[in-house]
């Protein structure tokens, strides 16, 4: 357990550094963006007088670096400031969006992880066979088609033509399972297309790698069936890389869903961040970046802890 504790502590320190770097990078690039929050908010009506007035109102007259430092010190004390766009506290905006994003990610994970594992395990079990090739090519084809095309085709068939599901995902006032399924089926499936392939490939590769180990041959030679070799011998040893692939895919599900969120009008956090870019809303943008980065670092850490826990040699050290 001490290994894990030490790993976690070390990673947390590195993560803090990484997050700081992310915020510096985001800050640097956004300060290179043309226009500021006042100009973009006024858009076509941005006369110099109006812009100056709005800048004053938003506090944009302060130097950018000072605003960044304010934001940073605010974040450290748990209060990431106010949105430039509508003056709401950033935390309130995030509080509305983050649960939605987590819900979508969770729903997608619940569907895609078992599918990917099944794909990967079956492909590994029958590697080199027709089934393997079919599954692998299917997975590739799934990811090779741009997301927005998959989503739009899905909407045309299942929402417009068949009317089985909804073409948008609305905020549900009184969610029932039926409503949930209507609203979430298409976005979840579109996202599955994007993530299943990668996880399936990694699963297959990790298991195949284990199947090449002498112990797998030994198991075969003592009369263990192929399926049992894969499931009870190779799989426990392949947990590390598989969990890692899942973690990477899940981190994608939080930040990489911008297209799906746009198409299904899903009120997720990726769209919030894109809005924040469009409106030069530095506090929101930075906070979103922090969330994505923290999620990524956290997931990778969890994956590494899982990998250690799955390995008796490391676990007992």
């Amino acid at each position: 357990m001490q290994v894990i504790l030490r790993l976690i502590l070390k990673r947390l320190a590195a993560a803090a550094l990484t997050l700081l770097l992310v915020s510096v990078i985001v800050f640097t690039i956004t300060s290179l963006l043309p226009g500021d929050a006042a100009q973009t908010a006024l858009g076509q009506n941005a006369t110099p007088a109006a812009v100056a007035a709005l800048r004053l109102k938003l506090g944009l007259d302060e130097p950018a670096i000072l605003r960044y430092l304010h934001w940073l010190s605010g974040l450290l004390s748990g209060h990431p400031g106010y949105s430039y766009s509508d003056g709401l506290p950033v935390s309130a905006l995030i509080a509305k969006r983050l649960p939605e994003s987590l819900l979508l990610a969770a729903a997608t994970a619940v569907v895609s992880v078992p599918i990917a594992l099944t794909f990967g395990i079956l492909a590994a079990m029958y590697r080199g066979s027709m089934l393997d090739r079919t599954l692998s090519t299917t997975a590739l084809a799934m990811v090779a088609v741009p997301e927005f095309l998959v989503a739009t085709v899905g909407v045309l068939i299942f929402a417009v033509k068949l009317r089985w599901v909804s073409a948008l995902t609305f905020e549900l006032d009184h969610p029932s399972l039926r409503e949930f399924l209507r609203g979430y089926t298409l976005p979840v499936l579109s996202l599955c297309f994007a993530v299943v392939a990668q996880m399936a490939r990694m699963t297959r590769a990790a298991i195949v790698d284990q199947l090449r180990q002498p112990y797998a041959e030994m198991a075969a030679l003592k009369g263990v069936s192929t399926s049992r070799i894969v499931l009870t011998h190779a799989l426990p040893n392949a947990v590390g890389p598989i969990v890692n692939a899942i973690a990477l895919s899940l981190s994608f599900l939080l930040g990489g869903t911008i297209i799906v969120e746009t198409i299904f009008d899903y009120p997720g956090i990726a769209r919030l961040m894109v809005d924040a870019v469009s409106y030069r809303d530095m506090p929101v943008l930075q906070t979103c970046a922090m969330i994505f980065s923290a999620a990524y670092l956290g997931l990778v850490l969890i994956a590494d802890v899982c990998a250690i826990l799955s390995n008796p040699k490391l676990r007992r050290q």
Binding site: V22, L149, T152, A270, S293
Partner: protein, 295 residues
């Protein structure tokens, strides 16, 4: 902690020791399996289209040549017309040029600089390694689409910046892989032998390690290429990407998306083009003989 004494009694099958990644180069090339050949044909086809296509394209990519939008396939317009009545065949040809050229160049840049940085991190001191790792961690943290969006918003979508953006978005992943490969290689005995001999770091990185990283990096390159193609099409979805009237294949799908419900070839054909290109690259790379691959 002396290594186990393990006589090679398994040499009935060709040696498949870890680290012997380059055995492939030593052994005589086996002919590609069927899937690899299919992949090769697909890739060569699109490379050929990108290279010679523009010479034989019937129209300029921006020319409106028909007053019928989303026209069907016909003798005059073999791939139909697009949402403005432009010739799809010409647009797909020029689109392929952008997709193949841009994505290929970006993937090469990402993989190459990832490899170089990975090597650098491995052979340099702790501080360089730490700084590089943190920096690239920071890059990988931010979702690539959003990163690209910010980059394009800040620097515009001229070709060089698009290239740089795509490369930057994927360099971190390449770095991670290159670094883990390099770390594995750095404990190989031949690297230690070079060190004991008194070789400089540069020599160790470039001469001893690099040649043995190329093949696994190539496998990674295929995926990276596919992701860059998809990222470019994602960018075009968000209204960024290649400058009009030029368009990469993903943009072609995007701009003709409203033709989807009546099955316009203007949207289906570029989709097929993207799929065949990316699948082709991966089939080809997957079927390249890898270390210890028994499939």
């Amino acid at each position: 902690m002396s290594p186990f004494v393990t006589p090679e009694t398994r040499s009935e099958i060709p040696a498949t020791k870890p680290g012997a990644a380059a055995t492939v180069t030593g052994r005589k090339r086996k002919s590609l399996p069927l899937s690899g050949r299919i992949g090769l044909v697909m890739v060569l086809f699109w490379v050929a289209v990108a290279l010679v296509g523009p010479l034989i394209a019937p129209h300029a990519p921006g020319a409106v040549v028909s007053n019928k939008v989303f026209g069907p396939m016909s003798l005059r317009f073999p791939m139909g017309t697009d949402y403005l009545g432009r010739d799809m065949l010409s647009r797909v040809i020029f689109g392929a040029q952008y997709t193949v050229g841009l994505a290929l160049a970006a993937a090469v840049m990402a993989s190459a600089s990832g490899t170089v940085l990975g090597l650098l991190a491995t052979i340099s001191g702790r501080w360089v390694e730490e700084i590089l790792s943190r920096l690239l961690d920071a890059l990988i943290c931010v979702p690539s689409t959003i990163f690209a969006l910010v980059m394009v918003a800040a620097f515009g979508s001229s070709l060089p910046f698009l290239l740089l953006t795509a490369a930057l978005s994927y360099v971190a992943g390449a770095f991670r892989i290159a670094r883990s490969l390099a770390v594995n290689l750095s404990v190989q005995e031949y690297v230690q032998a070079a060190r004991v001999r008194g070789e400089g770091r540069l020599h160790i990185a470039c001469v001893e390690m690099l040649p043995n990283m190329i093949h696994p990096m190539l496998a990674d390159f295929g995926l990276r290429f596919m992701f860059i193609v998809l990222m470019l099409s994602g960018l075009s979805f968000l209204g960024l990407g290649v400058q009009p009237p030029a368009a990469d294949l993903g943009s072609l799908i995007r701009e003709n998306l409203s033709g989807l419900d009546n099955g316009a070839p203007a949207v289906l054909l570029p989709a097929i083009a993207v799929a065949t290109l990316t699948i082709g690259v991966n089939l080809l790379i997957d079927s390249l003989p890898q270390r210890g691959d028994d499939a």
